[in-house]
Symmetry: C2
Subunit: 254 residues, 2 copies
Protein backbone atom coordinates (compact mmCIF):
# COMPACT_ATOMS: atom_id res chain seq x y z
CA UNK A 1 0.00 0.00 0.00
CA UNK A 2 1.41 3.39 -1.05
CA UNK A 3 0.22 6.13 1.31
CA UNK A 4 0.04 9.62 -0.07
CA UNK A 5 -0.58 13.21 0.94
CA UNK A 6 -1.78 15.36 -1.95
CA UNK A 7 -0.92 19.07 -1.89
CA UNK A 8 -3.25 21.19 -4.01
CA UNK A 9 -6.93 21.21 -4.93
CA UNK A 10 -7.13 22.40 -8.55
CA UNK A 11 -7.94 20.43 -11.71
CA UNK A 12 -4.81 18.28 -11.66
CA UNK A 13 -5.16 17.51 -7.92
CA UNK A 14 -8.85 16.63 -8.34
CA UNK A 15 -8.28 14.36 -11.33
CA UNK A 16 -5.29 12.62 -9.72
CA UNK A 17 -7.29 12.17 -6.51
CA UNK A 18 -10.05 10.45 -8.50
CA UNK A 19 -7.55 8.28 -10.34
CA UNK A 20 -5.74 7.23 -7.15
CA UNK A 21 -9.00 6.65 -5.28
CA UNK A 22 -10.15 4.28 -8.02
CA UNK A 23 -6.90 2.28 -7.91
CA UNK A 24 -5.93 -0.64 -5.69
CA UNK A 25 -2.86 -0.28 -3.51
CA UNK A 26 -2.88 3.51 -3.19
CA UNK A 27 -4.39 5.46 -0.35
CA UNK A 28 -4.69 9.24 -0.38
CA UNK A 29 -4.56 9.90 3.39
CA UNK A 30 -4.91 13.65 3.29
CA UNK A 31 -5.31 16.63 0.98
CA UNK A 32 -3.64 19.93 1.85
CA UNK A 33 -4.50 23.37 0.55
CA UNK A 34 -3.88 26.81 2.03
CA UNK A 35 -7.52 27.78 1.48
CA UNK A 36 -10.28 26.03 3.43
CA UNK A 37 -12.90 26.63 0.77
CA UNK A 38 -11.14 24.86 -2.07
CA UNK A 39 -10.96 21.67 0.03
CA UNK A 40 -14.75 21.25 -0.11
CA UNK A 41 -14.66 18.51 -2.74
CA UNK A 42 -12.26 16.37 -0.67
CA UNK A 43 -13.77 16.92 2.78
CA UNK A 44 -15.98 13.84 2.92
CA UNK A 45 -13.54 11.64 1.02
CA UNK A 46 -10.38 11.89 3.16
CA UNK A 47 -8.67 14.02 5.83
CA UNK A 48 -7.98 17.62 4.80
CA UNK A 49 -5.82 20.37 6.26
CA UNK A 50 -4.83 23.98 5.59
CA UNK A 51 -1.73 23.72 7.85
CA UNK A 52 1.65 22.41 6.70
CA UNK A 53 2.43 21.61 10.36
CA UNK A 54 -0.56 19.23 10.37
CA UNK A 55 0.53 17.07 7.41
CA UNK A 56 -0.01 13.35 8.00
CA UNK A 57 2.78 10.77 7.73
CA UNK A 58 2.96 9.24 4.25
CA UNK A 59 5.23 7.57 1.69
CA UNK A 60 4.76 10.28 -0.92
CA UNK A 61 3.92 13.96 -0.74
CA UNK A 62 2.63 14.89 -4.17
CA UNK A 63 2.32 18.56 -5.12
CA UNK A 64 -0.28 19.53 -7.71
CA UNK A 65 0.29 23.24 -7.20
CA UNK A 66 0.91 26.28 -9.38
CA UNK A 67 4.41 26.25 -10.88
CA UNK A 68 5.63 29.32 -9.03
CA UNK A 69 4.79 28.08 -5.52
CA UNK A 70 6.65 24.77 -5.94
CA UNK A 71 10.08 26.03 -4.72
CA UNK A 72 8.70 27.67 -1.57
CA UNK A 73 6.56 24.62 -0.76
CA UNK A 74 9.67 22.48 -1.18
CA UNK A 75 11.38 24.65 1.47
CA UNK A 76 8.48 24.00 3.83
CA UNK A 77 8.77 20.23 3.29
CA UNK A 78 12.55 20.03 3.58
CA UNK A 79 12.54 18.07 6.85
CA UNK A 80 10.44 15.23 5.46
CA UNK A 81 12.23 11.94 5.03
CA UNK A 82 9.59 10.74 2.57
CA UNK A 83 9.49 11.16 -1.19
CA UNK A 84 8.40 14.65 -2.33
CA UNK A 85 7.28 15.01 -5.93
CA UNK A 86 5.71 17.68 -8.11
CA UNK A 87 3.41 17.17 -11.11
CA UNK A 88 4.44 20.08 -13.35
CA UNK A 89 5.48 19.81 -16.97
CA UNK A 90 7.63 22.91 -16.94
CA UNK A 91 9.33 22.91 -13.52
CA UNK A 92 12.74 21.22 -13.16
CA UNK A 93 13.45 18.52 -10.58
CA UNK A 94 15.92 20.99 -9.01
CA UNK A 95 13.05 23.24 -7.92
CA UNK A 96 12.64 20.68 -5.12
CA UNK A 97 16.30 20.81 -4.14
CA UNK A 98 15.43 21.50 -0.48
CA UNK A 99 14.04 17.95 -0.29
CA UNK A 100 16.54 15.08 -0.29
CA UNK A 101 14.16 12.53 -1.91
CA UNK A 102 12.80 14.75 -4.71
CA UNK A 103 11.00 13.52 -7.82
CA UNK A 104 8.64 14.44 -10.66
CA UNK A 105 5.37 12.68 -11.46
CA UNK A 106 4.00 14.55 -14.50
CA UNK A 107 0.73 13.35 -16.06
CA UNK A 108 0.72 14.40 -19.72
CA UNK A 109 -2.96 15.16 -20.16
CA UNK A 110 -5.32 18.13 -20.38
CA UNK A 111 -7.56 18.34 -17.35
CA UNK A 112 -10.71 20.46 -17.38
CA UNK A 113 -12.85 20.80 -14.29
CA UNK A 114 -15.94 19.03 -15.58
CA UNK A 115 -14.49 16.64 -18.09
CA UNK A 116 -14.14 12.96 -17.26
CA UNK A 117 -10.72 11.58 -18.16
CA UNK A 118 -9.83 8.02 -19.06
CA UNK A 119 -7.00 7.62 -16.55
CA UNK A 120 -5.79 4.39 -18.05
CA UNK A 121 -4.71 6.44 -21.08
CA UNK A 122 -2.58 8.98 -19.20
CA UNK A 123 1.16 8.69 -19.76
CA UNK A 124 3.14 9.58 -16.63
CA UNK A 125 6.56 11.18 -17.09
CA UNK A 126 8.83 10.24 -14.21
CA UNK A 127 12.09 11.57 -12.82
CA UNK A 128 13.69 11.02 -9.41
CA UNK A 129 16.87 12.00 -7.61
CA UNK A 130 17.47 8.37 -6.65
CA UNK A 131 16.73 5.09 -8.46
CA UNK A 132 14.70 3.51 -5.66
CA UNK A 133 12.25 6.38 -5.65
CA UNK A 134 11.94 6.09 -9.42
CA UNK A 135 10.82 2.46 -8.92
CA UNK A 136 8.19 3.61 -6.42
CA UNK A 137 6.87 6.16 -8.92
CA UNK A 138 6.77 3.52 -11.65
CA UNK A 139 4.64 1.34 -9.38
CA UNK A 140 2.38 4.29 -8.61
CA UNK A 141 1.95 5.11 -12.32
CA UNK A 142 1.30 1.45 -13.14
CA UNK A 143 -1.52 1.23 -10.63
CA UNK A 144 -3.31 4.08 -12.41
CA UNK A 145 -2.34 3.88 -16.05
CA UNK A 146 0.19 1.27 -17.04
CA UNK A 147 2.01 3.85 -19.13
CA UNK A 148 5.07 5.59 -17.77
CA UNK A 149 8.23 7.06 -19.26
CA UNK A 150 11.50 8.08 -17.64
CA UNK A 151 11.92 11.69 -18.76
CA UNK A 152 14.66 14.09 -17.64
CA UNK A 153 13.94 17.70 -16.63
CA UNK A 154 15.51 18.84 -19.90
CA UNK A 155 13.31 16.50 -21.96
CA UNK A 156 10.22 17.35 -19.94
CA UNK A 157 10.54 21.03 -20.84
CA UNK A 158 10.52 20.05 -24.51
CA UNK A 159 7.64 17.65 -23.99
CA UNK A 160 5.60 20.35 -22.31
CA UNK A 161 6.40 22.65 -25.23
CA UNK A 162 5.27 20.06 -27.76
CA UNK A 163 2.06 19.54 -25.76
CA UNK A 164 1.27 23.23 -26.29
CA UNK A 165 1.46 22.61 -30.05
CA UNK A 166 -0.57 19.39 -30.17
CA UNK A 167 -3.15 20.34 -27.55
CA UNK A 168 -3.52 24.07 -26.82
CA UNK A 169 -2.76 25.32 -30.34
CA UNK A 170 -4.76 22.51 -31.94
CA UNK A 171 -7.74 23.43 -29.77
CA UNK A 172 -7.46 27.02 -30.94
CA UNK A 173 -7.61 25.84 -34.57
CA UNK A 174 -10.79 23.94 -33.63
CA UNK A 175 -12.12 27.24 -32.21
CA UNK A 176 -11.32 29.00 -35.49
CA UNK A 177 -13.20 26.26 -37.37
CA UNK A 178 -16.16 26.69 -35.04
CA UNK A 179 -16.05 30.46 -35.56
CA UNK A 180 -16.07 30.14 -39.36
CA UNK A 181 -19.02 27.72 -39.13
CA UNK A 182 -21.00 30.06 -36.87
CA UNK A 183 -20.33 33.09 -39.06
CA UNK A 184 -21.67 31.16 -42.04
CA UNK A 185 -24.68 29.58 -40.31
CA UNK A 186 -23.38 26.02 -40.38
CA UNK A 187 -23.38 23.72 -37.34
CA UNK A 188 -19.90 22.94 -35.91
CA UNK A 189 -21.13 19.31 -35.86
CA UNK A 190 -20.23 19.05 -39.58
CA UNK A 191 -16.54 19.33 -38.67
CA UNK A 192 -16.52 16.84 -35.79
CA UNK A 193 -16.00 13.61 -37.78
CA UNK A 194 -13.06 15.21 -39.59
CA UNK A 195 -11.54 16.34 -36.27
CA UNK A 196 -11.89 12.78 -34.93
CA UNK A 197 -10.46 11.20 -38.09
CA UNK A 198 -7.49 13.60 -38.19
CA UNK A 199 -6.56 12.78 -34.58
CA UNK A 200 -7.29 9.08 -35.11
CA UNK A 201 -5.04 8.79 -38.14
CA UNK A 202 -1.86 9.77 -36.26
CA UNK A 203 -2.46 7.15 -33.57
CA UNK A 204 -1.04 4.66 -36.07
CA UNK A 205 0.81 6.77 -38.62
CA UNK A 206 3.45 9.48 -38.53
CA UNK A 207 1.76 12.89 -38.98
CA UNK A 208 4.60 13.96 -41.27
CA UNK A 209 3.63 11.08 -43.60
CA UNK A 210 -0.15 11.68 -43.72
CA UNK A 211 -0.18 15.43 -44.32
CA UNK A 212 -2.92 16.43 -46.79
CA UNK A 213 -4.36 19.72 -48.06
CA UNK A 214 -3.58 22.57 -50.46
CA UNK A 215 -0.21 23.51 -48.86
CA UNK A 216 1.49 20.14 -49.32
CA UNK A 217 -0.04 19.79 -52.83
CA UNK A 218 1.31 23.30 -53.54
CA UNK A 219 -2.19 24.06 -54.88
CA UNK A 220 -1.80 27.82 -55.38
CA UNK A 221 -5.28 28.45 -56.76
CA UNK A 222 -6.99 26.96 -53.67
CA UNK A 223 -4.57 28.78 -51.34
CA UNK A 224 -5.28 32.09 -53.11
CA UNK A 225 -9.03 31.49 -52.99
CA UNK A 226 -8.83 30.76 -49.25
CA UNK A 227 -6.77 33.88 -48.56
CA UNK A 228 -9.37 35.95 -50.35
CA UNK A 229 -12.10 34.51 -48.11
CA UNK A 230 -10.23 35.55 -44.96
CA UNK A 231 -10.43 39.09 -43.62
CA UNK A 232 -7.24 40.78 -42.44
CA UNK A 233 -6.51 39.53 -38.95
CA UNK A 234 -5.08 36.64 -37.00
CA UNK A 235 -6.95 33.85 -38.82
CA UNK A 236 -5.44 35.05 -42.10
CA UNK A 237 -1.98 35.27 -40.54
CA UNK A 238 -2.39 31.71 -39.22
CA UNK A 239 -3.40 30.52 -42.70
CA UNK A 240 -0.37 32.18 -44.29
CA UNK A 241 2.13 31.02 -41.68
CA UNK A 242 0.94 27.41 -41.48
CA UNK A 243 0.76 27.10 -45.27
CA UNK A 244 4.33 28.36 -45.49
CA UNK A 245 5.43 26.12 -42.58
CA UNK A 246 3.93 23.00 -44.23
CA UNK A 247 5.75 23.81 -47.47
CA UNK A 248 9.06 24.36 -45.68
CA UNK A 249 8.64 21.21 -43.57
CA UNK A 250 7.98 19.09 -46.66
CA UNK A 251 10.60 20.82 -48.80
CA UNK A 252 8.22 22.38 -51.31
CA UNK A 253 9.25 25.48 -53.24
CA UNK A 254 7.77 28.63 -51.70
CA UNK B 1 -31.96 1.29 -56.79
CA UNK B 2 -29.80 4.33 -57.61
CA UNK B 3 -27.53 3.59 -60.57
CA UNK B 4 -24.32 5.55 -60.78
CA UNK B 5 -21.38 6.20 -63.03
CA UNK B 6 -18.31 7.37 -61.13
CA UNK B 7 -15.84 9.65 -62.95
CA UNK B 8 -12.35 9.61 -61.47
CA UNK B 9 -10.07 7.05 -59.83
CA UNK B 10 -8.15 8.90 -57.11
CA UNK B 11 -8.50 8.70 -53.31
CA UNK B 12 -11.97 10.24 -53.15
CA UNK B 13 -13.27 8.09 -56.02
CA UNK B 14 -11.82 4.93 -54.48
CA UNK B 15 -13.23 5.63 -51.02
CA UNK B 16 -16.66 6.58 -52.37
CA UNK B 17 -16.67 3.46 -54.55
CA UNK B 18 -16.03 1.33 -51.47
CA UNK B 19 -18.71 3.14 -49.50
CA UNK B 20 -21.32 2.81 -52.26
CA UNK B 21 -20.41 -0.83 -52.93
CA UNK B 22 -21.00 -1.65 -49.27
CA UNK B 23 -24.42 0.04 -49.26
CA UNK B 24 -27.81 -1.39 -50.19
CA UNK B 25 -29.75 0.33 -52.95
CA UNK B 26 -26.81 1.83 -54.82
CA UNK B 27 -25.09 0.30 -57.80
CA UNK B 28 -21.91 1.74 -59.30
CA UNK B 29 -22.37 0.57 -62.92
CA UNK B 30 -19.17 1.96 -64.32
CA UNK B 31 -16.02 3.89 -63.47
CA UNK B 32 -14.54 6.32 -66.00
CA UNK B 33 -11.01 7.68 -66.10
CA UNK B 34 -8.99 9.07 -68.99
CA UNK B 35 -6.05 6.80 -68.11
CA UNK B 36 -6.38 3.03 -68.48
CA UNK B 37 -3.80 2.30 -65.80
CA UNK B 38 -5.51 4.12 -62.97
CA UNK B 39 -8.64 1.99 -63.51
CA UNK B 40 -6.84 -1.16 -62.37
CA UNK B 41 -8.42 -1.21 -58.90
CA UNK B 42 -11.96 -1.07 -60.35
CA UNK B 43 -11.51 -3.48 -63.29
CA UNK B 44 -12.79 -6.64 -61.61
CA UNK B 45 -15.41 -4.86 -59.57
CA UNK B 46 -17.50 -3.12 -62.25
CA UNK B 47 -17.39 -1.92 -65.86
CA UNK B 48 -14.66 0.61 -66.66
CA UNK B 49 -14.03 2.95 -69.57
CA UNK B 50 -11.57 5.60 -70.74
CA UNK B 51 -14.04 7.05 -73.29
CA UNK B 52 -16.70 9.63 -72.50
CA UNK B 53 -18.64 8.38 -75.54
CA UNK B 54 -18.87 4.97 -73.88
CA UNK B 55 -20.48 6.10 -70.63
CA UNK B 56 -23.28 3.80 -69.45
CA UNK B 57 -26.81 5.01 -68.76
CA UNK B 58 -27.29 5.93 -65.09
CA UNK B 59 -29.28 8.06 -62.64
CA UNK B 60 -26.24 9.96 -61.37
CA UNK B 61 -22.88 10.83 -62.88
CA UNK B 62 -20.61 11.60 -59.96
CA UNK B 63 -17.28 13.36 -60.61
CA UNK B 64 -14.45 12.78 -58.17
CA UNK B 65 -11.93 14.63 -60.31
CA UNK B 66 -9.33 17.36 -59.81
CA UNK B 67 -10.95 20.76 -59.27
CA UNK B 68 -9.62 22.31 -62.46
CA UNK B 69 -11.00 19.65 -64.83
CA UNK B 70 -14.57 19.87 -63.49
CA UNK B 71 -15.76 22.67 -65.86
CA UNK B 72 -14.44 20.96 -69.02
CA UNK B 73 -15.87 17.60 -67.96
CA UNK B 74 -19.20 19.33 -67.39
CA UNK B 75 -19.07 20.55 -71.02
CA UNK B 76 -18.54 16.96 -72.16
CA UNK B 77 -21.56 15.78 -70.16
CA UNK B 78 -23.90 18.59 -71.18
CA UNK B 79 -26.23 16.38 -73.22
CA UNK B 80 -26.98 14.03 -70.33
CA UNK B 81 -30.50 14.21 -68.98
CA UNK B 82 -29.40 12.59 -65.72
CA UNK B 83 -28.11 14.24 -62.57
CA UNK B 84 -24.46 15.36 -62.79
CA UNK B 85 -22.67 16.10 -59.51
CA UNK B 86 -19.15 16.92 -58.38
CA UNK B 87 -17.56 16.10 -55.00
CA UNK B 88 -15.29 19.11 -54.49
CA UNK B 89 -15.21 21.32 -51.42
CA UNK B 90 -13.94 24.37 -53.24
CA UNK B 91 -15.71 24.32 -56.63
CA UNK B 92 -19.05 26.15 -57.00
CA UNK B 93 -22.20 24.49 -58.31
CA UNK B 94 -21.99 26.89 -61.27
CA UNK B 95 -18.86 25.14 -62.53
CA UNK B 96 -21.34 22.53 -63.83
CA UNK B 97 -23.51 25.10 -65.56
CA UNK B 98 -23.36 23.21 -68.87
CA UNK B 99 -25.46 20.47 -67.22
CA UNK B 100 -29.14 21.22 -66.57
CA UNK B 101 -29.43 18.87 -63.55
CA UNK B 102 -26.25 19.91 -61.72
CA UNK B 103 -25.47 19.21 -58.07
CA UNK B 104 -22.76 18.89 -55.44
CA UNK B 105 -22.13 15.84 -53.25
CA UNK B 106 -19.17 16.82 -51.06
CA UNK B 107 -17.93 14.33 -48.44
CA UNK B 108 -16.21 16.29 -45.66
CA UNK B 109 -13.46 13.86 -44.74
CA UNK B 110 -9.72 13.37 -45.23
CA UNK B 111 -9.01 10.43 -47.50
CA UNK B 112 -5.57 8.84 -47.66
CA UNK B 113 -4.85 6.03 -50.06
CA UNK B 114 -4.23 3.30 -47.49
CA UNK B 115 -6.34 4.45 -44.61
CA UNK B 116 -9.65 2.79 -43.87
CA UNK B 117 -12.44 5.28 -43.27
CA UNK B 118 -15.56 4.81 -41.20
CA UNK B 119 -18.04 5.84 -43.89
CA UNK B 120 -20.94 6.02 -41.48
CA UNK B 121 -19.19 9.03 -39.92
CA UNK B 122 -18.80 11.07 -43.11
CA UNK B 123 -21.00 14.16 -43.33
CA UNK B 124 -22.13 14.84 -46.90
CA UNK B 125 -22.66 18.46 -47.95
CA UNK B 126 -25.36 18.68 -50.57
CA UNK B 127 -26.44 21.29 -53.10
CA UNK B 128 -28.59 20.93 -56.24
CA UNK B 129 -30.02 23.16 -58.94
CA UNK B 130 -33.47 21.65 -58.39
CA UNK B 131 -35.24 20.38 -55.24
CA UNK B 132 -36.02 16.91 -56.58
CA UNK B 133 -32.36 16.19 -57.24
CA UNK B 134 -31.55 17.37 -53.74
CA UNK B 135 -33.92 14.69 -52.41
CA UNK B 136 -32.13 12.05 -54.49
CA UNK B 137 -28.77 13.15 -53.08
CA UNK B 138 -30.16 13.04 -49.55
CA UNK B 139 -31.25 9.44 -50.15
CA UNK B 140 -27.82 8.62 -51.55
CA UNK B 141 -26.05 10.15 -48.54
CA UNK B 142 -28.40 8.38 -46.15
CA UNK B 143 -27.60 5.00 -47.63
CA UNK B 144 -23.92 5.54 -46.85
CA UNK B 145 -23.74 7.74 -43.80
CA UNK B 146 -26.99 9.01 -42.39
CA UNK B 147 -25.45 12.47 -42.04
CA UNK B 148 -26.10 15.11 -44.66
CA UNK B 149 -26.36 18.89 -44.68
CA UNK B 150 -27.74 21.29 -47.28
CA UNK B 151 -24.85 23.66 -47.90
CA UNK B 152 -24.72 26.44 -50.51
CA UNK B 153 -21.69 27.01 -52.75
CA UNK B 154 -20.87 30.13 -50.71
CA UNK B 155 -21.03 28.20 -47.42
CA UNK B 156 -19.10 25.26 -48.84
CA UNK B 157 -16.14 27.49 -49.67
CA UNK B 158 -16.04 28.57 -46.02
CA UNK B 159 -16.49 25.00 -44.83
CA UNK B 160 -13.58 23.85 -46.97
CA UNK B 161 -11.52 26.72 -45.54
CA UNK B 162 -12.36 25.72 -41.98
CA UNK B 163 -11.45 22.10 -42.78
CA UNK B 164 -7.96 23.30 -43.67
CA UNK B 165 -7.68 24.75 -40.15
CA UNK B 166 -9.09 21.78 -38.23
CA UNK B 167 -7.50 19.04 -40.35
CA UNK B 168 -4.48 20.08 -42.44
CA UNK B 169 -3.10 22.69 -40.05
CA UNK B 170 -3.86 20.53 -37.01
CA UNK B 171 -1.97 17.65 -38.61
CA UNK B 172 1.02 19.94 -39.14
CA UNK B 173 1.00 20.81 -35.43
CA UNK B 174 1.05 17.06 -34.73
CA UNK B 175 4.09 16.85 -37.04
CA UNK B 176 5.80 19.63 -35.07
CA UNK B 177 5.11 17.70 -31.84
CA UNK B 178 6.56 14.55 -33.39
CA UNK B 179 9.63 16.51 -34.52
CA UNK B 180 10.25 17.94 -31.03
CA UNK B 181 9.92 14.43 -29.55
CA UNK B 182 12.36 12.94 -32.05
CA UNK B 183 14.92 15.71 -31.54
CA UNK B 184 14.81 15.03 -27.80
CA UNK B 185 14.83 11.23 -27.96
CA UNK B 186 11.28 10.72 -26.73
CA UNK B 187 8.73 8.46 -28.45
CA UNK B 188 5.86 10.30 -30.19
CA UNK B 189 3.64 7.71 -28.44
CA UNK B 190 3.77 9.87 -25.28
CA UNK B 191 1.73 12.56 -27.05
CA UNK B 192 -0.93 10.28 -28.55
CA UNK B 193 -3.33 10.11 -25.58
CA UNK B 194 -3.28 13.92 -25.34
CA UNK B 195 -3.99 14.23 -29.07
CA UNK B 196 -6.94 11.85 -28.70
CA UNK B 197 -8.26 13.62 -25.59
CA UNK B 198 -7.99 17.08 -27.18
CA UNK B 199 -9.99 15.96 -30.22
CA UNK B 200 -12.40 13.97 -28.07
CA UNK B 201 -13.19 16.89 -25.79
CA UNK B 202 -14.62 19.08 -28.58
CA UNK B 203 -17.00 16.34 -29.73
CA UNK B 204 -19.19 17.41 -26.81
CA UNK B 205 -17.95 20.88 -25.88
CA UNK B 206 -17.28 24.14 -27.68
CA UNK B 207 -13.52 24.46 -28.32
CA UNK B 208 -13.73 28.15 -27.40
CA UNK B 209 -14.93 27.09 -23.94
CA UNK B 210 -12.33 24.39 -23.21
CA UNK B 211 -9.18 26.26 -24.23
CA UNK B 212 -6.28 25.52 -21.84
CA UNK B 213 -2.56 26.34 -21.78
CA UNK B 214 -0.18 29.22 -21.02
CA UNK B 215 -1.68 31.64 -23.60
CA UNK B 216 -5.21 31.72 -22.18
CA UNK B 217 -3.82 31.82 -18.61
CA UNK B 218 -1.61 34.71 -19.75
CA UNK B 219 1.25 32.82 -18.09
CA UNK B 220 4.14 34.99 -19.29
CA UNK B 221 6.90 33.06 -17.54
CA UNK B 222 5.96 29.76 -19.24
CA UNK B 223 5.51 31.51 -22.61
CA UNK B 224 8.96 33.13 -22.26
CA UNK B 225 10.55 29.82 -21.24
CA UNK B 226 8.99 28.10 -24.29
CA UNK B 227 10.17 30.83 -26.68
CA UNK B 228 13.70 30.41 -25.34
CA UNK B 229 13.54 26.67 -26.09
CA UNK B 230 12.60 27.29 -29.73
CA UNK B 231 15.22 28.13 -32.33
CA UNK B 232 14.53 30.91 -34.82
CA UNK B 233 12.32 29.48 -37.54
CA UNK B 234 8.78 28.55 -38.36
CA UNK B 235 8.01 26.61 -35.18
CA UNK B 236 8.89 29.70 -33.14
CA UNK B 237 6.76 31.90 -35.41
CA UNK B 238 3.84 29.47 -34.98
CA UNK B 239 4.27 29.60 -31.20
CA UNK B 240 4.27 33.41 -31.19
CA UNK B 241 1.34 33.81 -33.58
CA UNK B 242 -0.92 31.20 -31.98
CA UNK B 243 -0.19 32.50 -28.48
CA UNK B 244 -1.13 36.00 -29.63
CA UNK B 245 -4.19 34.67 -31.51
CA UNK B 246 -5.48 32.80 -28.42
CA UNK B 247 -5.09 35.96 -26.32
CA UNK B 248 -6.92 38.08 -28.89
CA UNK B 249 -9.67 35.50 -29.34
CA UNK B 250 -10.29 35.33 -25.59
CA UNK B 251 -9.86 39.06 -25.04
CA UNK B 252 -6.70 38.90 -22.94
CA UNK B 253 -4.35 41.87 -22.78
CA UNK B 254 -1.37 41.42 -25.09
Amino acid sequence: MIEMVLLGSGNVATHLFKAFSASEGIRVKQVYNHSEKSLEFFRNKCAVTTEISQLAAADIYLMALKDDVIPEMSEKLKDLEALVAHTSGSVALDALKACPRRAVFYPLQTFSKNNAVNYSEIPFCLEAANPKDLETLKKLAQKVSGKSYEISSEQRKKLHLSAVFICNFVNHLYAVGEQICEQNHMPFDILKPLIAETAGKVQHASPAKVQTGPAIRNDQSTIQAHLELLEEGENKKIYELLTSAIKTFHGKKL
